[in-house]
């Protein structure tokens, strides 16, 4: 297998100018669109396995304590069932992640409500659920830690010595001297809650052992190789005995990053024991109550500024609630910490952060990954500062925004592709922000109106790819296969989860090779068929994996040119080249592996350096009205400009932006997870509200293209960026409308009513 030994992005770029097919920058119909539109795309619940059993989960009903005894009530015919517990695990009882502290099945003790303890499989799904009613668990309950404050108080320690999973400290300059220079100091405190990913397809997995003894798992997931890693050590099996393949996946948003490893482990354990295929599909209640959510957070700001509004010191303290196990909390916290200053340059910064343990289901990945939490705080804080300085937050932002040459809090010099100012300028202009603000102030003074009007702004950034040295550790690989009959196929573990990975990666390869878009196919991610391109997370698929594929395609093209004597121009040339390159083999693969760009430097212990290869930037204005009787908020218009380097597929890019904004609107106004004793009380779409088509407003999107020299065709990360901006802009608009700044999400009508009750008579 020839490896393209180039820097992961870049060297293949010149191929794009030859035989350019012009598909990059256009919007062909998504690759798998017709199958999805006809209902023939197979999601995991659509697969039929002969002789399949249904698996269900018996879960902890207490928050924290010892499991003394589990009894199977003989009133149920258990001989019809297969039951598995921790003792049935052939290998290690933990889920492979950063700390490996989470068991696949609780054994002896339980750390949170809904923790899986026992698994049951039955030929009838209905009977399997019924069996759960005949399992009796006896616990010795311990006093749980249920909130972030309780965890910080350390009266009860449930993790390590101090309940702290991870701490970070970012220092730039000296905040002490910064505050000494400041004309004004503004402090603020902000809170954000859990948020449920609420993909419409619940988590689901099927497992079986094939004829060759290979443990095979198929299901809804973002990261097949993460699942394989967990299964290998659960069963003590090597790579070639564990195969993980993705089924068509009905949305992920981070919610299918780490949890599928657990569900896959459960289905596989039952299948292993039953020696039959086992399917496990969560219903909505179980999915919402038991799987991960966005980390709640508590963020404090102390900001020093000159009278003119220039930042001189930012002191930020962050606490995130990680839930009962470490899982991904350290990396969520890391991203939240790095993004906490907002896209602004300040000479003196100190950010201190910690993720703490509570006896609640572990929180995890959700689009934005820590950044929406801390960016909500810093962006809304500008309104507070603006009030003190009697200026508009637009002017203050313009004064402090990152630009080319700026140095971030981690000490990274931004050398290119900094589109924050341009995004803000476009957004302010297109939303008519300043004039509307004045007009609304006049409108709101008129007491005869039945609604208040408001407009609010936010500017955000998002680092693309893994943080710091993360991409080096991942060492991702991706390949292009040329078959003997001249067909081109993409081999990568990046999953299509709705974001358009199949389409965008095919466009990059098509453009690079100079062959039609329709001639490029994408292999379904399968650990036995595609190389490990890293997880489908962190806004990295297009930029990082797309870059690898551009490189692999470049290698294929130069090899073909060498054998053919010229660059292949048409299908006939490709067939000739295929025969020459494949020899007698059915296919030839060209693979590219990630190589760190040499100028990127990161010091992990000091937490300093180039945190990301590049950042994407977005500005957003929310224009809304608040009903004076019901306090219901109606968004009238969203205007946004987002710098994503290059839109490989403008329609899909716009779809990502509008979709991310809708989730941000839910975060700001609707989505309220109610917890009692560590259990989510509203684990239904009936009482956990996500936005409908009526709740989201028409959105005016401008895509700004400040190309990134190392991204394929200039592309940067896009997936998470749009999630970061709506909540603070909406909170600012509500402040503009009502004069009340509500610093805790979600801003429900009840909260607006409460904030006003002391002033209205």
């Amino acid at each position: 297998m020839p490896a393209a030994g180039h820097n992961f992005l870049g060297t293949a770029a010149h191929f794009s100018t030859i035989n350019a097919v012009g598909v990059v920058g256009t919007s062909p119909g998504r690759k798998e669109g017709p199958q999805k539109l006809c209902g023939v795309a197979k999601y995991i619940d659509d697969f039929v396995f002969p002789g399949c059993l249904w698996g269900v989960t018996f879960r902890s009903s207490i928050a924290y304590g010892l499991i003394k005894k589990i009894t199977l009530d003989p009133a149920f015919p258990w001989e019809d069932c297969v039951v598995a517990c921790a003792k049935d695990i052939p290998g290690n009882n933990f889920v492979s992640l950063i700390e490996n502290d989470q068991p696949l099945l609780a054994d002896k003790k339980t750390m949170h409500p809904m923790e899986p303890i026992l698994l049951v499989a039955h030929t009838s799904r209905h009977r399997a659920y019924e069996a759960l009613n005949y399992i009796r668990a006896e616990y010795e309950c311990k006093e749980p830690v249920l909130s972030l404050e309780e965890s910080l108080a350390k009266k009860r320690v449930i993790y390590g010595r101090d309940n702290v999973f991870k701490k970070f400290l970012i220092k730039k300059g000296s905040v002490k001297s910064g505050f000494a220079q400041a004309d004004v100091i503004v402090e603020g405190e902000y809170r954000v809650p859990h948020q449920e990913q609420a993909y419409i397809e619940n988590n689901g997995m099927a497992a079986y052992v094939d004829k060759k003894g290979v443990l095979t798992v198929v299901g809804s997931m973002q990261c097949p190789y993460y699942v394989q890693k967990t299964l290998k050590q659960i069963f003590n099996l090597p790579d070639n005995r564990v195969r993980v393949a993705q089924a068509v996946t009905g949305g992920g948003f981070g919610g299918k990053e780490e949890y599928p490893s657990i569900l896959a482990g459960h289905a596989a354990l039952l299948a292993w024991k039953a020696k039959r295929p086992v399917k496990m599909i969560y219903d909505r209640r179980e999915d919402m109550a038991a799987t991960t959510k966005r980390h709640p957070a508590w963020i404090k700001h102390k900001t020093g500024l000159t009278r003119a509004g220039r930042l001189v010191a930012q002191e930020i303290d962050i606490v995130m609630d990680g839930g009962a196990y470490a899982t991904l909390s350290s990396v969520v916290l890391s991203r939240g910490t790095i993004h906490a200053t907002g896209p602004y340059e300040c000479p003196n910064v100190r950010v201190r952060s910690k993720a703490v343990a509570t006896n609640t289901p572990p929180n995890g990945a959700f689009r934005g990954f820590g950044a929406p939490q801390t960016l909500f705080a810093v962006e809304l804080h500008w309104e507070k500062i603006a009030r003190v300085l009697r200026k508009d937050s637009l002017e203050l932002r313009q004064l402090n925004l990152l630009k080319t040459g700026s140095i971030t809090a981690t000490g990274q010099t931004l050398s290119e592709s900094v589109g924050a100012e341009e995004a803000l300028q476009i957004t302010a202009k297109k939303s008519d922000y300043l004039r509307k603000k004045k007009r609304y102030a006049r409108w709101n003074r008129d007491n005869s109106r039945d609604k208040w009007h408001g407009i609010g702004l936010a500017v955000v950034h998002h680092g693309a790819g893994f943080t710091g040295s993360g991409e080096i550790s991942l060492a991702s690989r991706a390949a292009i296969s040329l078959t003997r009959d001249g067909k081109i196929q993409i081999l990568a573990s990046s999953t299509e989860i709705g974001q358009g990975a199949n389409t965008v990666l095919a466009q990059i390869v098509s453009e690079t090779l100079g062959i039609p878009f329709d001639a490029v196919s994408v292999k379904t991610p399968d650990t036995h068929k595609v190389p490990d391109s890293g997880p489908t997370v962190a806004s990295r698929t297009c930029m990082v994996v797309g870059g690898l594929l551009q490189c692999a395609a470049g290698a294929l093209k130069s090899h073909a040119a060498k054998r053919l004597g010229r660059f292949p121009k048409n299908a006939k040339d490709w067939k000739t080249a295929a025969v020459l390159l494949c020899g007698k083999k059915p296919e030839r693969r060209f693979e590219a592996g990630y190589k760190k760009p040499k100028e990127l430097l990161w010091d992990d212990p000091a937490y300093r350096g180039d945190a990301y290869g590049v950042y994407s930037y977005a500005a957003l204005a929310a224009d809304l009205e608040v009903d004076k009787t019901t306090y219901a908020v109606r968004i009238r218009k969203i205007t946004t400009a987002q710098d994503i380097g290059k839109a490989i597929h403008p329609l899909l890019a716009e779809g990502q932006i509008i979709g991310g904004i809708a989730q941000g609107i839910g975060y700001a106004l609707l989505e309220n997870s109610v917890f009692k004793n560590g259990v989510m009380q509203n684990s239904q779409l009936t009482n956990y509200m996500i936005p409908t088509s009526v709740d989201v407003a028409p959105t005016d999107v401008t895509i700004v293209e400040n190309p990134y020299s190392r991204g394929p065709f200039g592309a940067k990360g896009l997936g998470e960026l749009p999630m970061n901006a709506p909540a603070p802009a909406i909170a600012a608009a509500i402040y503009c409308a009502t004069g009340r700044m509500i610093t805790e999400l979600p801003i429900l009508p009840e909260k607006i009513a409460k904030s006003l009750e002391f002033t209205q008579k």
């Binding site: 669109g33 539109l37 709705g498 779809g655 979709g659």
Partner: protein, 160 residues
């Protein structure tokens, strides 16, 4: 055993079995029409929307006996991947489907709107689609897809 007769995707069918089995389960299990998806099981998300005598309903809330003597239409009654219906084509071209799980239900509600002579007013379309949740698109491209389909209908008088 009691026979329930229904017209399913323009074909007469007979179902024998538990008369209270949910319509979605009958479609998916007895007739192997897995295009209809379950999202919440309580009539909230609309992913399982099918047309019952032309009206969109949540098939997770309807016992099969309710369909006796009636017309049921699912996503499978539209086009095929090689020959998309105009409505499906509009969704494909306008970005109306992302992860695709809400798509079959969304298409059936949109179809009912188009057939009843619904207008191209985006607000009216948003209200009509209000019972079908989508977590990916933010709905705008879905609304655009429906508008495009309405235009195709008037220009071509095509069967949607």
């Amino acid at each position: 055993m009691l026979a329930i007769r229904l017209t399913l995707n323009r074909k007469k069918q007979i179902y024998r079995g538990n008369p209270f089995k949910r319509l979605i389960d009958v479609l998916r299990e007895n007739f192997e029409l897995t295009g209809t998806k379950e999202g919440c099981g309580e009539g909230e998300c609309g992913a399982c929307t099918v047309l019952l005598d032309g009206e969109p309903v949540n098939s997770c809330l309807i016992p099969i006996c309710h369909a006796d003597g009636r017309r049921v239409e699912t996503v499978e009654s539209l086009g095929s991947p090689g020959a998309l219906s105009p409505l499906q084509k509009s969704f494909w071209k306008e970005g109306g489907a992302q992860c695709g799980i809400c798509t079959p239900g969304m298409l059936m509600t949109a179809l009912a709107w188009v057939r009843r002579g619904g207008s191209g007013d985006p607000d009216a379309i948003r209200r009509y689609l209000g019972g079908n949740l989508c977590r990916c698109t933010g709905y705008q491209h879905i609304v655009n897809s429906v508008i495009k389909a309405l235009k195709m209908k008037t220009t071509k008088a095509a069967r949607l």
